[in-house]
Assembly symmetry: C2
Homo-oligomer: 335 residues x 2
Amino acid sequence: MTKLTIKEVAKAAGVSTATISRVLNENGYVSEEARRRVLETIERLHYKPNTIARSLKQDRSGGIGFVLPDLTNPYFMRIARALHNRLAGEGYYVFFMDSDEEPEKEREALNFLLEKRVEAILLAGTGGNLELIRRIQAGGTPLVLLDRQLPGVPADAVMEDNETAAEEAVMYLLDKGHRTVGVLNGPAGISTAAERARGALKALTVRGMEAHTEYSYYGDYTRNSGKRAAKYFLELPVPPTAVFSANNEMTFGFLLGLKENGLPIDHMELVSFGGLDFASLFRHRLTAIRQEPDAVAEAAAELLLRRIREPESAGKREKRLLVPRLEVSPASEDG
Amino acid sequence: MTKLTIKEVAKAAGVSTATISRVLNENGYVSEEARRRVLETIERLHYKPNTIARSLKQDRSGGIGFVLPDLTNPYFMRIARALHNRLAGEGYYVFFMDSDEEPEKEREALNFLLEKRVEAILLAGTGGNLELIRRIQAGGTPLVLLDRQLPGVPADAVMEDNETAAEEAVMYLLDKGHRTVGVLNGPAGISTAAERARGALKALTVRGMEAHTEYSYYGDYTRNSGKRAAKYFLELPVPPTAVFSANNEMTFGFLLGLKENGLPIDHMELVSFGGLDFASLFRHRLTAIRQEPDAVAEAAAELLLRRIREPESAGKREKRLLVPRLEVSPASEDG
DNA sequence: TTGTATGCGTTATCAT
DNA sequence: ATGATAACGCATACAA
């Protein structure tokens, strides 16, 4: 019942702790005979090396931090899962930290990760803590931004090409003949929202249409703001015939809003950044920009590993831009 | 750029490392004057204590492991979030480990946690690794089972009262006059599935109905198995007029299956263990057993903390059974 | 091929 | 009230 350390194992196997360590780490010379005995003893005693002591000695925590805005958001959790799978194979584990979109919680998460001496940090930021983040970079911990850019923080980044995708999406609506298109934007503070807004605007401009501000609504990426947007658009003198929504939560809310107002959910044509997995259940003219969490995770993992393993590349900044594609629902074809 | 340790801070503040430590941990005596100087220096240098060294010295990792079957499952992630929030306040952090329903991955996760010297483990098990789990208990690490019971493993547990809830659900269908009720079960290996099946059977028995095996379908908690179930029930000589589904993924699949067979999604009355958040979007007579992840997390956190803090309670076994309630959708009232 | 001894960054004991 | 120092469990330089 007393704590089982490398020492007890050494004694039990009749060798020194150094030999145990050599077997464990598969380095240095050790006779076949000794290795056998050591492995047998480890197995018999169910010895598990203490990674805390190991980390301290080797100055290598093996941890990578991932700060994300919402643990229950399937998009981020798919990224999380893929990231974990990829990095576990390389001997790293991931700390998942939930910022809940609050800069204060984000700050706590980042400080926690620093105290845990993580070897790199992946951050889908709230937009705050810019100074802390710069200090982290200056301190030498590789930091990669995910999904969202941060103003005034040059850093490695992996994100989706929000502007292009949004432009395509709105272009799609315009080319189908819609003349009044509502744009349901995300919150001003988050880079993805700004980029998606820019893309939408660009499409309108390219097609020579004016962007009337009354057809633009600013939500906050939440379901409720989508609901409010539906009410808002419906009450306009001339409601839009189609709407581009900057994220799936708002799209969901928008559908709820239509329903609350006694309208069928296919009352307006809808294009959403990010799909809704129940969309196939009904005929509702929903076209979605399909995001690719696995590809994002893969790119992020590559970048993280490279920065950890090539400290000489510390100054470099790389930006990986993935292009999500527009997925037109069958029901939309004949809309 | 050289590593910043307590030593450098001590030098910079003109005190010994012991004093720094005392300030950091708020124990022992330290003059107001010294404390001020130390705090100022820490702030100025942006010193962050190395928790790895601290953990080694104090023999206290501060970590709690949570092994769950699917990182992208919102039910478990809501539990995860609530758990994290509750435990962070107590000075603990949580390792989220994804077993992906595979015993092999679960084994790796458990071993990882042991090597990290977590102070307790919360486990929503795959059903495998029974011996390892018993060894963990014997080794003195508190282990609490979540959501799922394990055969032959007496342990603290927090779960929902699956049997009672399932019984109520089927009873509800019978009392509405349905005479042929299909039961869509989960996989045999998972305790929740067995309990829900038992509850459903009990309802039938109580109402004096025979449980014909052809009205029972065994899925595996996945969407696809729900789809297959729909096809199966529809092809029976006398299809059921209502179905009880043992989890929400299968319920979703079942709806998809109805659609694929050219039927409206309200073709059959449905009661689901676990809700579907888009249910309110349409009129489809879906009644759901509403699970309560926050309450589950709270109960689990209490139990974990108690076992960590009261080692003398090591032999005790406590089972917390939460009772989810049946939530009848408005559309079902007039079905 | 193996063992001895030192040190990783921190806390805690013991002097002072 | 403060400082010197041993110890936590392990990996590794060096000696043998």
